[in-house]
């Protein structure tokens, strides 16, 4: 049972012909019954395919990794298409087809909570254009004006005559029509499918174990590789003794790749992993092998008072205002390296021959994976293809194609043989582009009435762009470092109005690769800003909410108020419980959180509840947003409680969940979410609320204990009374 498609403008041939790979060829099978019949299915445009039996296949260019973008985008297309949601299924177009068809599906990259907020307009247009073509085809058949016809639930109706026809019946004729030049999109207030708490399209497979992730991919003749790269970033492979393991039963080949890694290819993963563990390997770590954690800490500390720094946001003269203030408040915070820890470790399957290279993998950026395939294979893009698989988590980790490159290089050593490369959890944990580590020194000046007259925020630490995309630095500056602190723009703008403000960054880049980690720099910048806001409020003798409300711009203030109201902020709490607040604007959405926390006399901290508010402009699926908010708190609280990657002799010390703990069920707070969409913009929801988790909890802890935690993770802090 398979689908063999050629993504031509018009017709697809769907058949039951067996092709190696089956479902895993990158397309979700439109026919779930697996019947071995062929049928003409019609592509109306890049986004909409209609089958004779009315089944609607919606093409999704972005990658689904649990954030629900697949369902949300499909809702938007279906809304405009006026199809029956029960008939909707989906498929991924391939990155190679996107290149061949002049990027008809535009951007495949899935990060920055961009899926819906960036592509909503063109996917809705795709749905609307297909609808118009279907109506036009029916009208032509009936010889009536198209304006007298309408579509609803996959049926076209001619009102005055009462004639009706299903989409599937007119799809062939519709596909031959020219698409309309312009279509009018619906007002979100008229939505019937979008805006509703519809269940995800990919749930059934995930509760039956039938969902195929990259790591599950298989095809005839496939071998499996285990890989080990230099434990120290930048280190080189010096030597290895393949003879020691080559004769082990099931081992097929030992290969060196990129001068910095070695892989064992075997019949099964367990054989490959066992042989790799037994393989003698020598490394040359170079000077990075001498780097210790305290060196990184010292490097960042030095930047806190360094004279040179990139200026990200400046209003008035902060230094003069602070010097002249009645009261001066200073605090230094730090945020450690974090690992994404997707539940599915990195993996990719590659099949290489001299004239073709194919890859099957989960990726957040299909086109980057395709480019990496082409580069590693040494073949032009036209001879390469990537078939996207379901992701067992992404969180930014799978936006990078380092693992794709490795898989291709391994497969290149065995032309014609498909090889699935799987990283062990240990390999995954120690070879990542980590959430950058930074420190932050904040200095605020209050006048005699407790008004904030000047604020200097000095960030010191690592730049993601310097690590991954140095070409995107602006005169050496990394604008992304200032996420949440930006002066203007649609992304992550600073919400407080401070008459004299300076936010600057002393870039200090340790040797670990830094990268995008769900929420990115909004995370630590919000910890710094929102905890310090509480410190300022305390110094001013004011309530943290009231102190913020005086300084916040309207949309920020509205969301914070919504969260505070829903949480009952200011009203009596059960004995021993305390509220902490935080707010930020990230990824185009305004968010706030109120944590309800207790700390026992023995120092046991518990987060009982977090109440969140989100203004994402429009709401495409409220149920999925609520899940993203709750999930984002698990991500943010895991980092706050336990998350910390440290370095010894240049290598990452944490290797698995026993040394890199994460939050489990017993620590999960109740999460309540208020959706307060104010309309007129499209904000992302996969990331922003992560950032308010840690500071709202830290602010509540300070209220409960009088202790101000300024360095994460919390597991290092004794919260016991008197300690």
């Amino acid at each position: 049972m398979t689908i063999q498609t050629s993504l031509g403008r018009r017709n697809f041939l769907v058949s039951g012909t067996a092709v190696a790979g089956g479902l895993s060829l990158g397309f979700r099978l439109p026919f779930t019954d697996g019947a071995a019949h062929a049928a003409e299915v019609q592509e109306l445009n890049a986004w909409v395919v209609i089958h004779p039996d009315d089944k609607v296949v919606i093409r999704i260019a972005r990658s689904e990794m649990g954030q629900g973008t697949l369902t949300g985008l499909a809702q938007l297309v279906a809304e405009e298409l006026e199809c029956d949601w029960a008939k909707v299924t989906w498929e991924y177009p391939t990155p190679g087809e996107n290149v061949k068809r002049n990027r008809i599906w535009k951007n495949f990259s899935t990060g920055g909570s961009r899926g819906i907020r960036e592509s909503n307009e063109y996917v809705r247009q795709g749905g609307a254009m297909a609808r118009e073509m279907l109506i036009a085809a029916a009208a032509a058949d009936w010889k009536v004006p198209a304006t007298e016809c309408s579509a609803a639930k996959s049926i076209i109706t001619h009102k005055s005559s009462g004639r009706t026809v299903g989409f599937g019946k007119v799809a062939e004729a519709a596909a031959k029509l020219e698409p309309p030049k312009e279509v009018k999109l619906k007002d979100p207030k008229d939505w019937q499918i979008a805006g509703k708490p519809i269940k995800k399209l990919d749930t059934l497979e995930k509760v039956t174990g039938t969902q195929i992730y990259g790591i599950d991919f298989t095809m005839p003749g496939m071998l499996i590789a285990a890989v080990k790269a230099s434990p120290v970033n930048g280190g080189k492979l010096k030597s290895f003794d393949a003879a020691k393991v080559e004769k082990m039963p099931g081992v097929k080949k030992v290969v060196a790749i990129d001068g910095n890694a070695v892989a064992v290819v075997a019949e099964t993963y367990w054989t490959a992993k066992t042989a790799l563990a037994a393989l003698p390997v020598e490394w040359d770590f170079g000077k990075n092998g001498n780097v210790q954690q305290e060196d990184i800490v010292a490097m960042l500390k030095e930047g806190l008072d360094a004279p040179e720094a990139f200026v990200g946001n400046k209003v008035g003269d902060a230094k003069t205002a602070i010097d002249g203030a009645a009261k001066k408040v200073t605090a230094t915070y730090s945020f450690p390296y974090q690992h994404h820890v997707t539940m599915e470790p990195m993996n990719a399957t590659a099949r290489y021959s001299a004239d073709k290279c194919e890859v099957w993998c989960g990726t957040q950026n299909g086109e980057a994976a395709l480019a990496a395939t082409s580069e590693a294979a040494g073949l032009p893009i036209a001879k390469c293809e990537v078939y996207k698989q379901m992701l067992g988590g992404g969180f930014g980790r799978r936006g990078r194609a380092d693992y794709v490159r490795q898989a291709v290089l391994i497969a290149k050593e065995m032309p014609g043989t498909p090889v699935k490369m799987i990283w062990s959890r240990e390999e995954d944990m120690t070879h990542c582009q980590y959430h950058p580590t930074t420190m932050c020194k904040l200095t605020g000046g209050l006048d005699k009435d407790g008004n904030l007259v000047g604020l200097h925020i000095r960030i010191s630490g690592q730049s993601i762009l310097a690590s991954l995309l140095p070409q995107n630095l602006v005169n050496g500056m990394d604008p992304a470092t200032f996420q949440g602190f930006a002066a203007s723009g649609p992304e992550a703008t600073y919400g407080y109005t401070v008459p004299n403000l300076l936010i600057d960054h002393a870039m200090r880049n340790p040797h670990l690769t830094a990268g995008f980690w769900r929420g990115v720099n909004v995370n630590q910048n919000t910890v710094y800003m929102e905890c310090f806001m509480d410190e300022l409020a305390e110094a001013a003798g004011q309530d943290p909410l009231a102190f913020r409300m005086k300084l916040l711009k309207p949309k920020y203030a509205a969301v914070l108020k919504a969260a505070a109201d829903k949480a009952g902020y200011g009203k009596p709490l059960p004995a021993g419980r305390f509220h902490g607040l935080a707010q930020v604007m990230g990824y185009g959405s305004y968010v706030a959180g109120v944590a309800e926390v207790s700390v026992s006399p023995e120092g046991q901290m518990k987060v009982h509840k977090i109440t969140a508010a989100t203004d994402s402009g429009y709401v495409v699926n409220p149920a999925q947003i609520e899940r993203q908010v709750a999930g984002s708190f698990v991500y943010g609280l895991s980092a706050a409680l336990y998350g910390e990657i440290t370095v010894k002799d240049g290598a990452v010390e944490q290797t698995n969940f026993d040394s890199y703990n994460v939050m489990r069920m017993n620590e999960m707070p109740v999460v309540e979410t208020a959706l307060v969409p104010s309309g007129g913009f499209w904000g992302g929801v996969g990331e922003p609320t992560i950032a308010v988790a840690a500071p709202s909890v830290l602010n509540a802890i300070a209220k409960a204990t009088g202790k101000r935690v300024r360095n994460l993770p919390l597991m290092h802090h004794e919260l016991k009374k008197g300690a």
Partner: protein, 149 residues
Amino acid sequence: MAVLNINGKSVNATVDPRTPLLWVLRDTLGMTGTKYGCGIAQCGACTVLIDGMATRSCQVAINSVGNRKITTIEGLSVDGKLNKIQAAWVEHDVPQCGYCQSGMIMAATALLAAKPNPTDADIDAAMTNICRCGTYQQVREAIHTAAKA
């Protein structure tokens, strides 16, 4: 060659006797519903039932299994019909990325067999599986729903 009792069927597997059950299921038998997450019994993604007990299959050598009954996620639905736990998972639309959910459902299966009406504290104690997407709240709700079903 090991003879295993999986989902009520007798299955032969020719593998090194020290191979963990997880990799026999995945690589030898092609049953990929059971997931690899950590390999050290920490995360629970590989949870299966052995004689009804939730067990992390990455730490079970195949030569230690004998003729005990193994149940995997593939063995829960009968004739394509979801069991009550899977149905509750669908009702609460639990999975996000879904990678941990086979293990979650297997752990919940063992919990509900032992305690048909678990309290939140029972759920906290039994459900130690890791979910990085953060579906814990929906997992909890789904277990309560399944208990009532």
